[in-house]
Amino acid sequence: MTRAGDFVRENMRNPNAIAYFLMAVGALFYPIVIQFINGGNGDFLVGLAADGGIYVLMAIGLNVVVGFAGLLDLGYAAFFAIGSYTYALVASNHMGVTPIGHSLHVPFWIALFIGMFVAAAAGALLGAPTLRLRGDYLAIVTLGFGEIVPRLFRNAGIWTGGVPGISALDVPSLPGWFQGPWIGQNFVWVSDFRFTSANLTAYYVLMMILITFVVILVHNLQSSRLGRAWMAVREDETAAAASGVNTVTIKLLAFSIGAATSGFAGAFYGAKLSYVSSENFGFIVSITVLAMVVLGGMGNIPGAMIGAIVLYFILFKLLPDAPLQMQALASSLGLDSLNQSNPNGWPGIAEVVKRSQYVIFGLILVGIMLLRPQGLLPSQIRKQELKHSEHEPLATPRQLQG
């Protein structure tokens, strides 16, 4: 039998392998199918999916912190903000209006990594004094940090542009890129390529490449001594310490790596929008990413990714479209009267759905967690844990010893 055949047979029963395969195929065909369905006018949807990639990146990063190391981080968006603002400062004209008086235009890829490293450093700085705390206490401190950082950026006056933020950032660029018939152009090599809203397909492709790299790196981490140490610290911190793991360093590393991923995503996001404002980094972002990780399957990389994709789709496509969809549904059922507002307080079906968007969102979350408490694609461990907590044996020898 061929090696390819063996490989397929080995992985056919592995849910993670299937998930990766489906995601890869989906990512590959998504732009083609979307353009086909929309008769070549699907650019908006391709761009929307690419923006969703930002959330996928964040979910992968937060999964390192929450899923691998078991540290509850409720202020994850702060690192996203730090990445964005760092990028904004080193890659726009803004430095020119600050007391420094020189605008900085660091090349895109370098600026991206500067954003990442500054976020990682911020993670280490926050982590150093707080990672002695456990569980709920750590959650509260990170929650505070998540509130402080956007406020700091909003109120740092000239340095961060205050409430309006910083605009006209350098957009992502590459020394060269292929254009071709797949976006209705001639096959051509474009040098000094810039990713703008005029070429969303290229932006989408770049995003998928970045995600692939991040997934590979985080996978490597998980299967290394670090991944093992994170798991041990999550299971039993004292035993891990007694077995020679420096628990403070190892937790700090998880925190920093999560922050770095978030900062990387933030810098990329700022560059793509060419604009940053403190309004984009609220508590709701942290909570959304956390919900993505929990709902997808804590501790499992493809799980977190699927959680991110599903929640992103619900939040940014399903719910915004819902009012008009309901209106259309009502019309097609001959219930046009539902669509009209009327004087006794009925504002029209579209308005009702619009107002109850977050109720619907909440119900969907509750529904998913009821149906799959372990997450959409849980890690093996999480599955076991839930199974055992349901059928806990009467007493293990260990308890009898106690």
């Binding site: 981490l221 093992r228 299971e235 039993d236 004292t238 007694a242 077995s243 020679g244 793991v245 420096n246």
Partner: protein, 254 residues
């Protein structure tokens, strides 16, 4: 006499309670040293002070002429002191072999960079410690359980797995906290065999044990604690006939 561990004037107070009270002793290199005493005598607290899980209130812990007083647990592990726990603390949802691999953590040299990019160095190091972990599992007789979750192992297997994990840190001194608790007589004999093998590898063994038969047979020297205080020290025969020890265990005769 060459001693590997020296405890001097060690005291641990929890608020008003004095759990360990001014205890001094030396553990000779290459022997089995035992710590005994009635329940609540402060034996495990003493272990926790030596391994850095607690910071002693007073006194010093010297290991191989290095002052380890108050060092965090990972540093005492790195220095060469490994331990097991009275109430088994394994990583329940990691496989047996992963538990042992984790024990190698402080002896590994792969950096973040190596882990991120799976460098050839990282791969070969992982291969080495996997092999070594399997050897250790074989030593404690668990090679066939390598891929099972720690929590799914039988009680006696869990105790032995904990010893394998401790050995993975490449210790000079192994602290065993009631290794024979809950064992059948047959298992106790096997355990004594294992202790012998460990000793033969040049590792000094320091154990807490309740079973007098085990202690008297296995150890060359014994320290007795009662209410946090050292009440006796010496070879088994001497300790067995010590009046204070008998009183501590059986109560004062009228």
């Amino acid at each position: 006499m060459d001693s590997i561990l020296r405890v001097q004037g060690l005291t641990k107070r929890f608020g008003g309670l004095v759990a360990v009270d001014n205890v001094s002793f030396e553990v000779p290199t290459g022997e089995v040293f035992a710590l005994i005493g009635p329940n609540g005598a402060g034996k495990t607290t003493l272990f926790n002070c030596i391994t850095g899980i607690y910071k002693p209130t007073l006194g010093t812990v010297t290991f191989h002429d290095h002052d380890l007083t108050g060092s965090p647990p990972h540093r005492t592990a790195k220095a060469g002191i490994a331990r097991t726990f009275q109430n088994i603390r394994l990583f329940d949802y990691m496989s047996a072999v992963d538990n042992v691999k984790l024990g190698h953590h402080c002896r590994m040299h792969s950096k973040l960079w190596d882990s991120l990019f799976k460098t050839p160095f990282e791969r070969s190091e992982e291969r080495e410690i996997t092999e070594h972990s399997m050897e250790l599992l074989q030593l404690v007789g668990l090679e066939r359980q390598a891929d099972n979750y720690a929590r799914n192992l039988a009680y006696g297997q869990q105790r032995r797995l904990e010893i394998a994990r401790a050995l993975a840190t490449d210790p000079k001194l192994l602290l065993l906290d009631e290794p024979a608790a809950g064992f059948t007589p047959q298992e106790k004999v096997e355990l004594m065999g294992l202790v012998g093998t460990i000793l033969a590898r040049g590792i000094t063994v320091f154990l807490i044990e309740h079973d007098m038969k085990v202690v008297m047979q296995a150890s060359q020297r014994i320290v007795v604690l009662d209410h946090g205080e050292k009440i006796a020290e010496g070879p088994p025969v001497e300790v067995r006939n010590n009046q204070r020890v008998i009183e501590a265990y059986l109560g004062k005769s009228a």
